[in-house]
């Protein structure tokens, strides 16, 4: 009975998040990009000058909102629990690899769902790759894959990144000249909803995701591992609400060619998201979940978020990121290399001698 209630709660949360995501597009965010953790972290990396791709630079208030929304609700629910120390360097590395996959596909799992709900057929290939990647990750989980235990940390350590993100946003508002920002019409970074609305949307979605433990990777993983559809309902809710809103606003356009901020190279859409599903399963959650856990004081997730930022910078500094024109050669090589790296991490932490148990 309780499980049924939780499943309905997750579906409802998904519906709310789906509506908010499309409203953000209506209010100025790029098409099918109401939310995209990978794209927004990439834009944020650009805003700080970590990369110099002029089209994708903007300190996204949604990111700050997501972390703070989770942080505030976790404090209120006495679930703010600073922990960390579970293979942080490995997590940083995995996060960089996941970002390479995201920017090959042009979106995180969250945006993948939003792209499907906008009629982008390429994202269906992404979803297939994503599910395959999670399937491979689950094989290692079943064999005993573990990044070893975490340990209690101080409140200051747990709160460091949430507070730092707030400080960054305040700085961007007070001294905007310090940051890079794409001009309107200059690329995805130049398309955004008004700051306070973006921040509020992030706060709401961050809080809802903290409450419900929503996770795109967890949904498919638990379906494979435990035959449980509970977490998957969040996914379904987001898709359903975004689809209805996209149809209502006239945003829905089914097809493969000419989809917004996307390319139609099927193989690399598939492989990009395979890498994302594989790496995220080994990290214990999708990029959205990592932001939410960061808000709960999980410093391993905070390190993961920093890995995403570094990965995004790397992608644009070394021409690994795709564009509407398609993937780059460098990007293809990087995806293959990253799949190998993730596999080495998986094998080393599954069959390595030191079990730590």
């Amino acid at each position: 009975m309780k499980e049924k209630r939780e499943t309905i709660l997750l579906g409802g949360a998904g519906l709310l998040i789906g509506v908010i995501a499309v409203l953000l597009v209506k209010l100025g965010n790029p098409a099918n990009m109401g939310f995209c953790i990978a794209c927004f972290l990439r834009d944020t990396a650009g805003a700080m000058g970590l990369h110099r791709a002029g089209a994708v630079q903007y300190l996204r208030p949604e990111i700050v909102g997501l972390i703070l929304g989770s942080f505030l609700l976790a404090l209120g629910r006495k679930e703010f629990s600073p922990k960390g120390g579970s293979s942080p360097v490995t997590r940083f590395l995995l996060a960089m690899c996941v970002m390479v996959g995201c920017l090959m596909f042009l979106g995180c799992p969250f945006r993948m769902v939003l792209r499907i709900s906008g009629g982008d057929g390429n994202a269906l290939l992404g979803l297939a790759g994503f599910a395959c990647g999670i399937g491979v990750g689950v094989l290692f989980l079943k064999k005993g894959y573990s990044l070893k235990r975490n340990y209690k940390q101080t409140k200051a350590e747990g709160a460091a990144l949430p507070i730092l993100t707030l400080a960054l946003l305040l700085l961007a508002v007070i001294v905007p000249v310090l940051f890079f920002a794409t001009e309107a019409g200059g690329g995805p970074g130049g398309s955004h909803a008004p700051l306070l609305i973006s921040l509020a949307a992030g706060l709401i979605v961050g809080a809802v995701a903290q409450l419900t433990r929503l996770c795109m990777v967890g949904g498919i993983r638990d379906l494979i591992l435990f035959r449980s559809v509970r977490l998957l309902m969040g996914f379904v809710g987001i898709f359903a609400a975004a689809l209805i809103c996209n149809l209502a606003f006239g945003f829905f356009k089914f097809g493969f060619a000419g989809q917004p901020v996307a390319h139609n190279d099927g193989l690399w859409n598939f492989l990009g998201m395979l890498l994302v599903g594989y790496g995220s399963t080994l990290l214990g959650g999708c990029p959205l979940r990592q932001l939410v856990l960061t808000g709960e004081g999980n410093t391993d997730s905070a390190v993961t978020v920093l890995g995403f930022l570094a990965g995004a910078a790397l992608c644009h500094n070394f021409s690994l990121a795709s564009s509407a024109n398609g993937p780059t050669l460098n990007g293809k090589i990087a995806v293959v290399v990253c799949i190998v790296i993730v596999s080495i991490v998986a094998v080393a932490n599954t069959f390595g001698k030191e079990k730590g148990r």
């Binding site: 309780k2 340990y151 449980s228």
Partner: protein
């Protein structure tokens, strides 16, 4: 007793599942976060066990009994 403290989702459930292959009438598992408490409770009940939770200041001892 299974010590799953410091393990993040879904490891504690997988540790329990592995232990459950021995088909014993009761199990004890220690965790230190509420997500794991929820996940283990759900899994235990699904497998036909009665689950009780003892709160021990940031740590939780879960007892599963047939």
């Amino acid at each position: 007793m299974i010590d799953a403290r410091g393990r993040s989702c879904p490891e504690p459930v997988l540790m329990l599942r592995k232990a459950m292959t021995s088909k014993e009438a009761s199990y004890e598992i220690m965790v230190d976060n509420r997500v794991s408490v929820e996940n283990i409770t759900r899994y235990g009940q699904h497998e036909g066990y009665r689950v009780t939770v003892e709160d021990r200041e940031d740590e939780y001892l879960l007892r599963l009994e047939k």
